[in-house]
């Protein structure tokens, strides 16, 4: 029987079938952060257990950390007492159990999904889990990677396995060459608009097609990152030369072992006549920049389109009406009619070097509009930050009036000091526009780094071509 990439990864990690009919799957890599791990460590302790394989675990604090830290910062300087407790708790647990952590003072600290690949902890063919739904990001390397809940974090720590049932296979084929000004973020938002936020439920989505073949690892990560916004726990791209080159550059494996591994990684692709339960074909050459107008990532339109009306009766009219009320938008308005208050460039979707380069390109030589109260750039990791600085990108941003920050989840979610105030409208490169996600009553519009940069300069969305 021909197999898909997902089938192959599943079989490779399959330990045994359980009486329950579920399978025990071996976990190669486990990432931890401060928010979803404390209760798991507590559970481990109560059962008198220790981590099964210490070296599989890598931790870093990202969700709670302030992003204006400077050099002498340490946990004591976190002003929010409750945030501090979580970060300190991660320190304590990592020290107690002996888990490798890139702590708040480390030059490699960053968003967990950004540091994994760049420090060489994410390599093709692995099973990777983390108590965070955007673990799907690592699927860009041909890894079976998915988000898990806290009970499962404890389970993985204790047993190095996950007890799960197999997902169904889905294929999304992206063909064509995108127009100027259109990035992988636009393409994944377009896909979510097309298949809906439940379109991938119960499935592992494999992204294929000539467009995927042509793009960088950074762009593939952006797409796999948002597989979860389409309902799929798992997003996948088969590893190829682009992948191997990235891994070679970021790896701690020696040459011989790498060569041996690459030979194996080349087998990690779907067989030609593999069968998928669902298939979607998307021609990327007609896609315009995509922006969300509402409170669900499927509420997406072209940047120059009119916001959907709730007056046309449809099964969605109630959801549309609620979203419009929350977002403070009206019938017949265009996205380009809206005035923005804040700009956020960052998050595990769009805080890698390529994203910052794209934004800097738009900003270079210009200044942030007077209408914008605050525009921030938050590199995804210490490594991204120093690379950007060595290229002079920080200068471009700060000269324009942006604030250049330290790594963390920042304004992707309202857990650290970077938050929206009620009713503020934000151009954001993150992945979720849920109510209150960036701060109580805040209004989020998801878009690409280039479009967010455009908003910073003009106060509004507009044409990038």
């Amino acid at each position: 029987m021909p197999k898909t990439l997902y089938d192959k990864l599943w079989e490779e990690h399959h330990i045994c079938e359980l009486d329950s009919g579920e399978s025990l799957i071996y976990i190669d890599r486990h990432f931890l952060h401060e928010v979803t791990s404390p209760q798991a460590f507590e559970g481990l302790d109560q059962k008198n257990l220790v981590p099964w394989r210490l070296g599989a675990n890598i931790a870093t604090p990202d969700h709670n950390v302030p992003t204006s830290r400077g050099d002498s910062f340490n946990t004591d300087n976190i002003l929010d007492e409750i945030s501090k407790i979580q970060v300190v708790e991660l320190d304590k647990n990592c020290n107690k159990f002996g888990i490798k952590q890139f702590d708040i003072k480390s030059s490699n600290q960053g968003i967990v999904h950004v540091i994994g690949p760049e420090l060489g902890y994410t390599i093709p063919g692995m099973t990777i889990v983390c108590g965070d739904s955007h673990t799907s990001t690592h699927g860009a390397f041909g890894c079976l990677a998915m988000g898990i809940g806290t009970s499962e974090v404890e389970h993985v720590l204790a047993t190095q396995t996950l007890k799960i049932s197999k997902l169904k296979n889905m294929q999304v084929i992206f063909d064509g060459k995108p127009k100027a000004g259109v990035s992988s973020k636009d393409i994944v938002l377009f896909m979510i608009k097309k298949i809906g936020t439940a379109g991938g439920n119960g499935h592992a989505i494999e992204f294929t097609g000539s467009y995927i073949d042509s793009i960088s690892m950074e762009a593939r990560m952006t797409i796999c990152n948002m597989a979860i916004e389409a309902g799929a726990k798992v997003g996948l791209v088969a590893p190829d030369e682009t992948t191997f080159n990235y891994v070679r550059e970021h790896s701690f494996l020696d040459k011989d072992m790498l060569a041996e591994a690459v030979d194996y990684w080349k087998t990690l692709k779907s067989d030609e006549d593999a069968v998928y339960g669902k298939k979607v074909k998307i021609d990327v050459s007609d896609i315009k920049p995509q922006i969300t107008w509402g409170t669900s990532p499927e509420m997406v339109i072209d940047f120059d389109e009119i916001i959907p009306s709730s007056k046309t009766p449809s099964k969605n009219s109630k959801n549309i009406e609620l979203a419009k009320k929350y977002m403070g938008v009206e019938d017949n308005q265009k996205l380009s009619d809206l005035k923005f208050d804040k700009v956020f460039i960052g998050s595990c979707t769009n805080s890698r070097i390529e994203d910052l380069r794209e934004a800097a390109n738009v900003i270079s030589g210009k200044t942030v509009s007077n209408d914008i109260i605050e525009a921030i750039v938050v590199p995804g990791s210490g490594a991204v930050k120093s690379e950007a600085e060595s290229e002079g990108l920080d200068k471009i941003f700060t000269a324009a009036g942006f604030i250049w920050k330290d790594p963390g989840c920042s304004m992707c979610l309202g857990m650290n000091p970077d938050q929206l105030k009620p009713y503020e409208r934000c151009a954001s490169t993150s992945n979720r526009n849920f109510e209150g996600r960036q701060g109580n009553m805040g209004r989020t519009h998801l878009m690409s780094p280039a479009m967010a940069a455009h908003v910073a300069i003009h106060g509004k969305v507009g044409d990038l071509s």
Binding site: G43, G149, T150, N319
Partner: protein
């Protein structure tokens, strides 16, 4: 404390007529700062339930409530079942969403579909997610939006009864047993200790690069 019958869920049904209710709505980020596994009841649906902005540690009693939100009104403030629409629990993997429902007293959620990670998390915390067809969900909405009668959910029979009607539902037996018997997954898995070790030893030889930095 109320004695809980693990095979029967009985009580008031609260309805929320919305698709795509994400885990950020079920419990906003602010409350994920707790390092405890219990005590989330006051923060369930925080953004919809209160008019003021809350903070971890501030109790429901001190907050300004949104009178229009169903869980603030009797008898729904003691609901044990939640009825909603499509793709409930999509978004973030936070198990806190299930803890908040559980701590509030919700023992079952009925919807036409669920987010995958949320669905999985439910069974680890004694909350039963019930997937029904859109038609059945619509019928339930009509029944429970107009009256506050009780529902009975028989776990072993996979059957729910209300007024004079009944609906059978599907759920994996093993997942169901986890709720009925409150089984702990770690203990069960560790019965396969040898199989895990054997797999691991073999993998270390065949795919040494995985272990290179251990």
């Amino acid at each position: 404390m109320k004695q809980i019958n693990p095979k029967l869920i009985y009580g008031v049904v609260a309805t929320i007529d919305r698709d795509n209710i994400d885990t950020d709505q079920i419990i906003p980020t602010e409350y994920l700062k707790s390092i405890k596994k219990f005590g989330y009841e006051d923060y369930l649906f925080d953004g919809w339930r209160y008019l003021d902005k809350g903070k971890l540690g501030i109790s429901s009693m001190e907050r300004e409530k949104n009178k229009e939100f169903i869980l603030n009104n009797s008898p729904y403030d003691s609901a044990s079942v939640l009825l909603t629409r499509d793709n409930f629990g999509c978004g973030s993997s936070r198990e806190h969403a299930v803890w908040a429902l559980r701590d509030f007293g919700i023992r079952a959620v009925i919807a036409s579909s669920f987010g995958d990670i949320f669905y999985n998390n439910c069974f680890k915390n004694g909350v039963l997610p019930i997937t029904l067809s859109k038609n059945d969900v619509e019928n339930l909405f009509q029944a429970f939006e107009s009256s506050s009668s009780n529902i009975e959910i028989f776990l072993e029979k996979k059957l729910l009864k209300y007024n004079d009607s009944e609906i059978a539902f599907e759920v994996d037996n093993n997942l169901l047993e986890r709720i009925i018997f409150g089984l702990d997954d770690v203990d069960i898995t560790l019965r396969n200790k040898e199989a895990i070790s054997a797999y691991e030893e073999k993998r270390m030889i065949e795919k040494p690069w995985i272990y290179k930095n251990d």
